[in-house]
Symmetry: C2
Subunit: 143 residues, 2 copies
Amino acid sequence: MALALAEARAAMARDEVPVGAVVLDACGAVLAQAGNGVEAGHDASAHAELLAMREAARLHGDARLTGCTVVVTLEPCPMCAAAMVHFRVARVIFGAYDSKSGGVEHGPRIFEQPRCLHRPEVVGGVGERESAALLKEFFRKRR
Amino acid sequence: MALALAEARAAMARDEVPVGAVVLDACGAVLAQAGNGVEAGHDASAHAELLAMREAARLHGDARLTGCTVVVTLEPCPMCAAAMVHFRVARVIFGAYDSKSGGVEHGPRIFEQPRCLHRPEVVGGVGERESAALLKEFFRKRR
């Protein structure tokens, strides 16, 4: 989570919404890490965890991240949660809960859908305070 | 839809699940088109409509595809439907319905979620027969 938070801080320095993510393999080694890149890439899908999963899979040479863990500072949105199903990640550890735009513990609760083909293990609220503080600071400055 | 179907056929020729997509601007001009690229890119998120939206937004220089239409041969999955919300697409026209993995008319019905921030207009079943036939042929050959 420290690495994911560092990516979130780096994203904030680039004027991106401060969210960071890391993908770990089954042994806990870092496969990829990324910060939110929506503004820089003019890509509304460039959320930190999606970028990190894509990079990890590319390096891995396999579209499936079997056994891997995604660590991300914010509860994944429905797009990213559904992508985690496609990438078959084993575990998701996230920081701040997102009652407005989250898709794991809120909204469509993607992994709890009856037709969901793969359900990663979920641990929420890890490093919640720091993750949420970064987001608050970012949106306070923007207003 | 003819262009999207051509992309789907090209995807099938590359041994990808045959789904194709096109992004049109508000005047109906083609901004981007893509076929499914999951296998080639080792990227489980490389669904045709997500690739086409990312490319259209990149060319457009804006993460929002305001006023744009996405035409895709298969009902978008929850990931792609949620991405359409992030990209703020105005309209989605899709071919075959997907009762197993669809996320627009099935499963989490992303655009009908109470917290959904943007609801594209949806027209399903356009070119349904051809789109579904391609998918059937692909999966029949695979078995």
